[in-house]
C-alpha cells in the first residue's frame, strides 16, 4: 500500500512540473493559435540562469528565482518581437510563426551551449535546505512540497490574473477574437507581448524547479520535456489552462505507474501517448477543451 502511495506521490510531483510547463505553452496557443516551439528552450535558459545567479554571485535561491523568472519573461518578449510579430500580417502566419520559433529554439539552445558549456551542471549543495519526512512508509521531501506549492501558487496566480485584472481580461478577449478586441479599443500587440511575457516566465519557473529537484541542468534538458508538454496540452485541451494542469498530472501519473508496473522505462512514453490517443478518440477536444466552431 505504501508502495502505491509513494508512486502516486512521485507521479503527482513530476506531473505538477509538467503542468506548470504546459500552462505557459497552452497560454500562447490559446491566444494566438500558434505553437511556440521555443518554449522548451526558455525552460532550459530559466534553469541555467538561476544556477548562474546562485553560483556566480552567491545569491540565495529565493532572490535568484524571481530574477530568473523575470529574465525568462523578457526572453518571451524577445521571442514575440523577433519570431512572431514580423510575420503577423502574413496570411500564413500560423505556419511561418511555428517555423521561426523553431529557429529561435536553435538560437537559444546554441546560446546556452556557448555560455554554459555542454556539461551537466547542478545547483551547489545546500542551495535549498531539504528536510526528509517519512509518513506511513511514504517519503516526501520538503523540496518536493515547496516545488508543488510554488507550481500551484503560480498556476493559481495565473488564473486570478486572467479573470480579475484588466490585462488578463484583455488577453482573454484577444483569445476570443482578435478583431473584436481591436474594435473594442484593446491594444492587441501589447496584449500579445504580455501574453508571451507571462507564458515564458512560467516556462522559466518550471525550468528552475525541474533543475532544483533533479540536480542536472544541461543545454539540452528542454528536449526531454518538449514533446511531453505538447502532449499534455493536447490531452488537456488546446488552450485550456485547467486542462493543462489536469493533463500534466495525468501524464506524470501514467509515466510513473508504467515504470513501476513494467520496470522498464522504454514503455513509459508508449503508454503515455496511448493514453493521449485514447482520450483523443473519445474526446477529440481534449479533457477540458471546449468545442469550437472554427471560422474558415
Amino acid at each position: 500500500m505504501s508502495l502505491l502511495l509513494q508512486q502516486l506521490v512521485n507521479g503527482l510531483f513530476i506531473g505538477s512540473v509538467y503542468g506548470l510547463f504546459a500552462v505557459g505553452y497552452t497560454l500562447v496557443f490559446g491566444v494566438l493559435d500558434i505553437l511556440n516551439m521555443a518554449h522548451a528552450t526558455v525552460f532550459t535558459l530559466g534553469g541555467l540562469v538561476a544556477l548562474w545567479l546562485v553560483e556566480g554571485s552567491g545569491m540565495s535561491i529565493w532572490a535568484a528565482f524571481p530574477l530568473a523568472v523575470l529574465f525568462s519573461g523578457l526572453l518571451g518578449l524577445v521571442l514575440d518581437r523577433v519570431a512572431f510579430a514580423p510575420l503577423r500580417q502574413r496570411s500564413d502566419t500560423y505556419f511561418s510563426g511555428l517555423i521561426s520559433s523553431i529557429a529561435m529554439a536553435i538560437i537559444f539552445e546554441s546560446a546556452a551551449l556557448g555560455l554554459f558549456g555542454a556539461h551537466t551542471v547542478r545547483f551547489p549543495p545546500n542551495t535549498i535546505k531539504t528536510d526528509i519526512w517519512r509518513i506511513e512508509g511514504v517519503t516526501i521531501t520538503s523540496l518536493q512540497v515547496e516545488i508543488v506549492l510554488v507550481a500551484l501558487i503560480l498556476m493559481g496566480a495565473l488564473s486570478l490574473f486572467l479573470h480579475r485584472t484588466r490585462t488578463g481580461k484583455a488577453i482573454r478577449a484577444v483569445a476570443e477574437s482578435e478583431r473584436t478586441a481591436r474594435l473594442l479599443g484593446i491594444h492587441v500587440d501589447g496584449i500579445i507581448a504580455s501574453t508571451f511575457f507571462v507564458s515564458s516566465a512560467l516556462g522559466g519557473a518550471a525550468g528552475i524547479l525541474f533543475g532544483l529537484y533533479f540536480d542536472a541542468l544541461s543545454p539540452d534538458m528542454g528536449r526531454s520535456i518538449e514533446l511531453k508538454g505538447l502532449a499534455v496540452i493536447v490531452l488537456g485541451g488546446m488552450g485550456s489552462i485547467p486542462g493543462a494542469i489536469l493533463g500534466g498530472l495525468t501524464f506524470g501519473l501514467s509515466e510513473v505507474l508504467t515504470v513501476a508496473v513494467t520496470g522498464k522505462s522504454n514503455l513509459r512514453d508508449a503508454v503515455a501517448f496511448t493514453v493521449l490517443f485514447a482520450v483523443l478518440l473519445l474526446r477529440p477536444e481534449g479533457l477540458l477543451g471546449r468545442r469550437r466552431a472554427r471560422e474558415v
Binding site: N10, T120, R122, P125, D215, A216, E255, A260, G263, N266
Partner: protein, 381 residues
C-alpha cells in the same frame, strides 16, 4: 646544356649525402620515437581527453629529460578526434601516412576505436588503447593492444570483494538499456552476480537522458535488497544516487557501480549522496607504490589538480610504448615494435605490475574503491 645538367645532378647527390650524414648524426646522439596521440579534445568525451593529454605530456617530458644525449626520446604528436569516428579516421590517416609515427596511442572512445583501428591494422601500425573498455577492440587484429582493463575483468572483482566484505546475498539492478556501454556493463554484472551466487531480486531500466529515477528506485526499495547494482554513465549515475538517498534508501544499502561511476564528476554532482558508493577501478590513486606516488605528486604539481584513472592509463601507456621500443631496438620498425610489445610481462607501471594477455588486453590487478569524505579511497581498508 649537358654541363648544366651534370652540375644539377652533382648538386643533388651532394645534398643527399649531406642529408644522410645529418641523419646519422642524430642516430648517434639518440633516437627519437614519434608517437601519435589521437584524443578526444573536443566533443562529448572532451573531459577524458584533457587528462589523457596531460598524462602523455608528463610521461614524455620525464622520459626526454632522463634520456640525456644518447637515450631514446619521445616526440608525442597530439591530434583531436572530436569524439567522432569520422574525424578519428582523418587523424589516423595523417599519423600513419604523413607523420609516419612508430605507433598510435588512443583513441579516447571505444566507439571511435572500432572504426579507426581497422585502418591501423591494415597499415601495420601498432595501436595502444589507453581508455577503451568495450568488448572486441583488440579482436580487430594483432597490432591492437590496450592498457585499459575491460569491464569483464573489473566488474567480477568488484562483486567478489563487495560480497566478501559486506556479505551481500540479494541485489536489485538498475541500468540503461539503450546504450552499448551501460548495457555491456549490465551483462558483465549479471554474469558476475550469478557466478558469485548472489540473487537478483529485480532488474529495472532507464533511458539515456532520463532525469527522473524515482519510480524505479521506489520499486527497488520495496524489495529490501542488500545492495543496488547500477550500470550508468556519470550524468545519470549522479541523479540515481541523490534520488535514491532522498527516497530514503538507507546508507547501509550500498550502490555498486561500473566504470561510468569512475569520475570526480560523480562526487561533484551527487555530493553527500555519493558517500559509500562502491566502484571498481583499474587504477588505485592511493597506492603507496613509489612509482605511483611520484606520478600523483608530479601531475598535481604541474596541472594543479590530482590525476584521474584516465591520466594514469595514458601515463602508463607512454612508458609501455617506450619499453616496447627499447626491446625492439628500433624507433621506426613498426613490426618489431609490435612483436616487442606483445612480449611485455610484469612491467612496473603506475597501474601496478603490467602484462598483456594472449589477446593483447591489459592484465593487472584491479582495485575496488569507495567514496569517503568526498574522495575515492580503497574499499575495505
Amino acid at each position: 646544356m649537358k654541363n648544366e645538367r651534370f652540375r644539377k645532378g652533382y648538386r643533388l647527390i651532394l645534398v643527399l649525402i649531406l642529408m644522410v650524414s645529418v641523419r646519422s648524426v642524430t642516430f648517434a646522439a639518440g633516437q627519437e620515437v614519434k608517437i601519435g596521440a589521437a584524443l578526444s579534445m573536443t566533443g562529448a568525451a572532451a573531459a577524458y581527453g584533457a587528462t589523457q593529454k596531460n598524462g602523455i605530456q608528463l610521461a614524455s617530458d620525464e622520459i626526454n629529460a632522463a634520456a640525456g644525449s644518447d637515450g631514446i626520446k619521445i616526440v608525442p604528436l597530439f591530434d583531436d578526434d572530436a569524439s567522432v569516428p569520422q574525424q578519428g579516421i582523418n587523424v589516423y590517416n595523417k599519423f600513419i601516412n604523413a607523420d609516419r609515427v612508430a605507433l598510435i596511442i588512443g583513441p579516447t572512445l571505444s566507439n571511435t576505436a572500432q572504426v579507426t583501428n581497422r585502418i591501423a591494422q591494415q597499415s601495420g601500425v601498432p595501436v595502444l588503447a589507453i581508455s577503451n573498455t568495450a568488448k572486441g577492440i583488440t579482436d580487430i587484429g594483432d597490432y591492437i593492444f590496450r592498457d585499459s582493463l575491460t569491464e569483464a575483468v573489473v566488474i567480477p572483482n568488484t562483486i567478489r570483494v563487495a560480497k566478501e566484505k559486506l556479505g551481500i546475498k540479494k541485489v536489485a539492478i538498475l541500468y540503461g538499456d539503450d546504450d552499448a556501454f551501460t548495457k555491456g556493463g549490465y551483462d558483465a554484472f549479471k554474469n558476475a552476480l550469478s557466478e558469485a551466487g548472489i540473487e537478483i531480486l529485480s532488474e529495472m531500466t532507464f533511458a539515456k537522458g532520463d532525469r527522473n529515477f524515482s519510480p524505479q528506485l521506489t520499486q527497488l526499495k520495496s524489495l529490501n535488497p542488500d545492495a543496488i547494482v547500477v550500470s550508468a554513465l556519470v550524468e545519470e549515475a549522479s541523479g540515481i544516487l541523490s534520488q535514491a538517498r532522498q527516497l530514503g534508501i538507507p546508507a547501509t544499502v550500498p550502490i555498486i557501480g561500473g566504470n561510468g561511476f569512475n569520475s570526480p564528476a560523480l562526487i561533484k554532482n551527487a555530493g553527500e549522496s555519493a558517500e559509500g558508493v562502491i566502484v571498481g577501478a583499474a587504477w588505485n590513486m592511493t597506492s603507496t607504490n613509489p612509482l605511483n606516488k611520484h606520478f600523483v605528486d608530479a601531475y598535481t604539481n604541474r596541472f594543479g589538480s590530482p590525476p584521474d584513472q584516465f591520466a594514469a592509463q595514458a601515463y602508463a601507456g607512454v612508458y609501455i610504448a617506450l619499453e616496447a621500443v627499447k626491446k625492439a631496438g628500433s624507433a621506426d620498425n613498426r613490426k618489431a615494435i609490435r612483436e616487442a610489445m606483445a612480449q611485455i610481462k610484469d612491467f612496473d607501471t603506475v597501474l601496478g605490475k603490467f602484462s598483456f594477455t594472449a589477446g593483447r588486453d591489459a592484465d593487472h590487478t584491479p582495485v575496488v574503491q569507495t567514496v569517503k569524505g568526498g574522495k575515492f579511497v580503497v574499499f575495505g581498508e
